[in-house]
C-alpha cells in the first residue's frame, strides 16, 4: 500500500467526518426517525408486548432501533456518491492517483464511523426512554456489532450508488430494500412466531445477525452466540466491501 493509497483512505475518511460534524441539521435529522420509532412503538406497543408475556418492550426494541439508526446512516453515506456525482466532486476522486478500492474504503470507513456515532446517540436517547444496560462492560461488544453493520451497509450503499445515475431510484431503494431490511430483522418484533417465508427472509437478511448480536451484547447473552453472529456479519461485510469496491472501480466519468 503506497502513500497515495493511505492518503486516499485517510483523506476520504476525514472528509466524511468533517462534513458530518459541520452539518448539524443532518445529525439531528437522522436521529429523528429512530427516536420517533422508539417512542411511538416503545410506548405504543409496550403494554401489549408485556401482556403477551414478551417482557419489557423497550428492552427488546432498543437494539433494533439503534441498528435502525446505524442502517439508515450507513446506506445514505454510501448513496452520497450520487450527490458527489451531481455536484462534480466525484471526478476529483476518480482522477486521483490512488487505486479506486482505497477511495471506496476511505469513504466506507468514514460513513461507518458516522453510523456508529449515530448508533451510540440513539442508544443514549433510549436510556431516557427507560432502557437499562446489563453491564457497561458489554459496550465494546455492542460497538463491534454496530461497526460491522455500519461497514456492511455503507458498502451496500456504495455499490448501489455506483450503478445509479441519479436520485430517481432513491424511493425504490428506500421502499424495497432499506425498509424491508429494517422490518424483517427482528428489530421491532420477535421472529419466532412469524410465517415460514418471513423467517426465511429474516435468515437471509444480514441485519438479523446484527440485531441478534447487539441484543445479546446489550442484554448479557453468551459470547459464543455473539461469535456466530459476528462471524456471519463479518463475512457479509467483506463480500459487500469487495462488491462495492469492484463496482466503484468500474465507474467511468
Amino acid at each position: 500500500m503506497n502513500s497515495s493509497s493511505m492518503g486516499a483512505v485517510w483523506g476520504l475518511w476525514l472528509r466524511q467526518i468533517k462534513r458530518y460534524l459541520r452539518s448539524r441539521s443532518r445529525l439531528i435529522g437522522s436521529l429523528g426517525q429512530p427516536v420517533l420509532f422508539l417512542v411511538a412503538l416503545g410506548f405504543g406497543f409496550g403494554p401489549v408486548f408485556q401482556k403477551a408475556g414478551g417482557g419489557n418492550y423497550i428492552q427488546f426494541l432498543t437494539p433494533g432501533i439503534v441498528l435502525m439508526g446505524v442502517l439508515f446512516t450507513a446506506i445514505f453515506s454510501g448513496i452520497e456518491i450520487i450527490w458527489d456525482r451531481q455536484f462534480g466532486f466525484l471526478k476529483e476522486t476518480l482522477v486521483a492517483p490512488a487505486p479506486r478500492i482505497f477511495i471506496m474504503l476511505g469513504r466506507t470507513l468514514g460513513g461507518a464511523t458516522i453510523a456508529i456515532i449515530q448508533g451510540f446517540l440513539v442508544l443514549a436517547v433510549s436510556f431516557a426512554a427507560g432502557f437499562r444496560l446489563e453491564s457497561w462492560t458489554r459496550l465494546p461488544a455492542a460497538a463491534l456489532f454496530m461497526g460491522l453493520t455500519a461497514v456492511a451497509f455503507t458498502a451496500l450503499g456504495t455499490a448501489i450508488a455506483s450503478v445509479l445515475e441519479d436520485m430517481q431510484g432513491f424511493q425504490l431503494i428506500m421502499n424495497f430494500l432499506v425498509m424491508p431490511i429494517f422490518f424483517f430483522s427482528g428489530s421491532i418484533f420477535p421472529l419466532i412466531s412469524l410465517p415460514r417465508f418471513l423467517t426465511d427472509v429474516a435468515a437471509a437478511n444480514p441485519l438479523t445477525y446484527g440485531v441478534d448480536g447487539l441484543r445479546l451484547a446489550l442484554e448479557g447473552g453468551s459470547y459464543a452466540a455473539m461469535g456466530r453472529d459476528a462471524a456471519v456479519l463479518t463475512a457479509v461485510a467483506a463480500v459487500l466491501v469487495v462488491a462495492g469496491g469492484n463496482l466503484f472501480s468500474r465507474i467511468q466519468a
Binding site: 503506497n2 502513500s3 497515495s4 492518503g7 486516499a8 485517510w10 483523506g11 476525514l14 472528509r15 468533517k18 462534513r19 459541520r22 452539518s23 455536484f87 462534480g88 466532486f89 466525484l90 471526478k91 476529483e92 476522486t93 476518480l94 482522477v95 486521483a96 492517483p97 490512488a98 487505486p99 479506486r100 478500492i101 450503478v163 445515475e165 469492484n246 463496482l247 472501480s249 468500474r250 465507474i251 467511468q252 466519468a253
Partner: protein, 271 residues
C-alpha cells in the same frame, strides 16, 4: 523527462464509439512540452470524450495514448500523477473550505506532509485566494471557484494541465485574471497547457498550436496563423466556421447520453 523527445502527449489512432455512434474516429496528434495547445471543435465534435480518454477516465476502444512517456492504459495511476485537470463543471467539495479542498487534494496525491502547508499557501496566493482560505467553497463566486480549481490542480506540481473550457461563464475581469495566471504559469514554470474553449478570440491570442476536430476527426492542425492562411480567412473565428461549417450542432443529447449511460460501467478489466 520522457525519452520521446519534446512530446508530453502522444496520441495514436484513438477510437471511441458509443453503440453505433463514433465519438472519436482515429485521432493522432501530439503536444509538445511547454506549449499552450488549444483543442477546438463544435459541440459534439468529440472534445470531451477525448479529454476523458487522455485523463484516464474513459477507456479507448483502440489506439494508444502516452502522457509524459507513460501509456495511459497500462499505467493509469502513474499517468494521473503527471497531470492536473480543471473540469468543465466544478469538482470542488462545497461543504469544505478552500484550504480543506486544497489539503484533501494534497493528501490524495501523496504530497509529503511537510510540504503540504507551504505549497497550499503558495498556490492560494498565486490565484489570489489566500485571504479566503477559511471560507466554505459554497460561498464562492464562479470565478473564485475556477481559480481555486486551478490552484488545486497545481498543488501536486504537474508538468501538464488540462483545462476544459476554463473561462466559460466568467466575466471579462475574471477571464483576464485567469489568463494572467495561466500565462505566468506557462512562462515561469514551463507547465504545458492543454485547453478547450469555444472562444476563438481567446484561442487565437493564447495558443501556440491549435487542433480543430469535427465529427471525431482532425479538421485542421497548426499555429493560428497557419490555419488562417490555409483557410484564407482573417480571424480564427472565420477559419473555424470555414472548417466546421455554419450548421448548428445539437449536442446529440438523446442518443449519445443514453448510450453513455448504458456504458457507464466499465466492462473491461478492473483495477
Amino acid at each position: 523527462m520522457s525519452q520521446s523527445g519534446g512530446d508530453i502527449i502522444e496520441v495514436k489512432d484513438l477510437v471511441k464509439t458509443f453503440g453505433s455512434f463514433t465519438a472519436v474516429g482515429g485521432l493522432s496528434f501530439s503536444v509538445k512540452r511547454g506549449e499552450i495547445f488549444s483543442f477546438l471543435g463544435p459541440n459534439g465534435a468529440g472534445k470531451t470524450t477525448t479529454i476523458k480518454m487522455l485523463t484516464t477516465l474513459l477507456r479507448p476502444d483502440s489506439g494508444s495514448i502516452r502522457i509524459a512517456g507513460l501509456d495511459t492504459a497500462r499505467e493509469p495511476l502513474e499517468v494521473r500523477r503527471k497531470f492536473g485537470i480543471v473540469f468543465q463543471d466544478a469538482s470542488l467539495d462545497d461543504e469544505l473550505t478552500a484550504w480543506e479542498n486544497m489539503f484533501f487534494h494534497a493528501v490524495l496525491y501523496a504530497v509529503p506532509a511537510a510540504e503540504r502547508a507551504p505549497r497550499i499557501e503558495e498556490m492560494l496566493r498565486f490565484v489570489g485566494l489566500w485571504d479566503r482560505r477559511k471560507d466554505l467553497v459554497k460561498h464562492f463566486s464562479g470565478g473564485m471557484k475556477r481559480r481555486l480549481e486551478i490552484a488545486r490542480c497545481l498543488s501536486h506540481q504537474p508538468d501538464l494541465i488540462f483545462l476544459d473550457e476554463p473561462t466559460s461563464g466568467l466575466d471579462p475581469q475574471n477571464r483576464s485574471r485567469l489568463w494572467e495566471h495561466l500565462r505566468r504559469l506557462n512562462s515561469e514554470l514551463g507547465t504545458t497547457i492543454f485547453l478547450t474553449t469555444h472562444s476563438m478570440e481567446e484561442a487565437e491570442k493564447v495558443s501556440g498550436r491549435i487542433l480543430v476536430i469535427d465529427g471525431g476527426k482532425i479538421a485542421a492542425e497548426g499555429t493560428p496563423d497557419e490555419i488562417k492562411r490555409r483557410t484564407e480567412t482573417r480571424t480564427l473565428e472565420e477559419a473555424f466556421l470555414a472548417l466546421t461549417g455554419r450548421d448548428l450542432r445539437d449536442d446529440v443529447p438523446g442518443a449519445v447520453e443514453d448510450m453513455r449511460k448504458a456504458r457507464l460501467i466499465w466492462r473491461g478489466k478492473s483495477r
